[in-house]
Point group: C2
Chain length 266, copies 2
């Protein structure tokens, strides 16, 4: 019987050594930021094609009408995209689901065999109400048209978002943090940081950028204190703090979270 | 050493015998329909609280501000909700992710260790572009307000959806079906029915209900033939066919997919 290979050699043949490649639009954090934060928190090196001079072409070749994927991978509809060895996948929550166990950003199956579903649920809900909906605020009528062509509708939608939808979702996460399954209310699930916390952090950060006055009022009112504390807690994680201060962290710009003063409260 | 228990007895103690309970709004297929179709295709019995006289109360008690979940489960933001033993989860793609391996609606991990991510990706994309976006067509400005108060904006959004967004997503799934990873173009992934096919079926079915004229034109033009054939193929599955003809299948009504003739093409 052959003796087992030394660990160092065995590891070289596993997927653990395969580099992670994030394919995303250049020039804004966007949905790619949720993937970056997972890597940054865990101090995992990754290739970020947004930093490549040919960043646009790299994305466009993936989503091109003539790209039908390959024998292993269906084609891609939109970035963010993760390449890991021969695997190519997209959809933000799907990439996080794949990375979660690999980066230790979810409970292990041995600790908690349904933790992955709870974390996925929390991430999906944050992305729905605190990322997709804020995007729709400035593009309520046509994603492909200019903001300037739907300003009136955007103003109406911003009012509804800040009055009804944003408090609904902040209230949901305050409930989560007040619940027993959070194990103490510091993190969303299981008494430890998961990728759902990173997603919620990024969403809150973006909304603070887009609607600073409204968020200041809401924070002052004190109804969602645990949620704002979680934002602060993630921001102070050493690796996240370093990242946010680095050049790798991009400005918000013309992405999901846009600061149009006329859409914010006065 | 004790001898192993007989299989029939062992099975009684596993989760396989635990009944599945779908908690959803009464009176419309909605997002709950994606869960129903998974059960129906696999001929799995399930409790559907939409059929319960207290259906509304059952949903409302789950999403109530005072419900913070329990020691195992974070609280719930919105239905559909799945109860399975002590587990309570929500978010349509999350429930399907949980059910997929249990119902045999994804490749097994032994056959294909990344199949789950590809199927999840396809389901997420169908839900984004062919369920959430059609919903936003009739509620572009405020989810909580009446359609009648946003009819003008809805008409603009319908035009954009039918001209730009719908063809984009139909084109994506046509690319998927033309790609090698579909293994023949009958099903979206791996040459076999997965829950992504059921999701795509339901989305197409809803869009045909909402925009019959536009969908007739698009089908006649023949650019997305494989997509329309997949819709037909799922509809003709024996269990699905029986289900669609049964009283369990509800009318579309005032849900995600609404037929407002003024939003359709002439």
């Amino acid at each position: 019987m052959a003796s087992p290979q030394p660990v160092s050699k065995r590891q070289k043949t596993t997927k653990e050594d395969t580099p992670y490649e994030l394919i995303y639009w250049p020039g804004l954090p966007g949905r790619g930021e949720h993937i970056r934060l997972a890597f940054e928190e865990c101090n995992i090196s990754y290739i970020d094609t947004a930093q490549d001079p040919k960043a646009m072409d790299i994305v466009l070749s993936q989503i091109s009408q003539s790209n039908q994927g390959d024998a292993l991978n269906p084609p891609i509809c939109a970035p963010p995209i993760l390449k890991h060895g021969s695997l190519i996948i997209n959809q933000t929550p799907n990439i996080l689901l794949y990375l979660g166990p690999k980066l230790g950003l979810v409970p292990t199956a041995e600790e908690d065999d349904v933790g992955l579903y709870h974390v996925n649920q929390l991430a999906l809900t944050a992305l729905d109400g605190l990322s997709n909906e804020p995007h729709d605020v400035h593009h309520p009528v046509a994603v492909g048209s200019y903001y300037e062509d739907q300003k009136v509708e955007a103003k109406r939608k911003a009012g509804d978002y800040l009055e009804n939808r944003l408090p609904k979702f902040l209230g949901y996460f305050e409930r989560v943090l007040g619940g027993e399954a959070s194990r103490g209310g510091e993190w969303l699930y299981g008494g430890r940081l998961t990728y759902a916390d990173l997603v919620l952090f990024q969403c809150l950060d973006g909304i603070k950028h887009a609607f600073p006055n409204a968020m200041k009022r809401i924070q002052t009112e004190g109804k969602f204190q645990k949620v704002f504390e979680l934002h602060e807690r993630v921001r102070e994680r050493p690796n996240i703090k370093n990242y946010l201060a680095s050049e790798r962290r991009q400005d918000y710009g013309m992405g999901i979270y846009r600061h149009y003063p006329e859409l914010d409260e006065e």
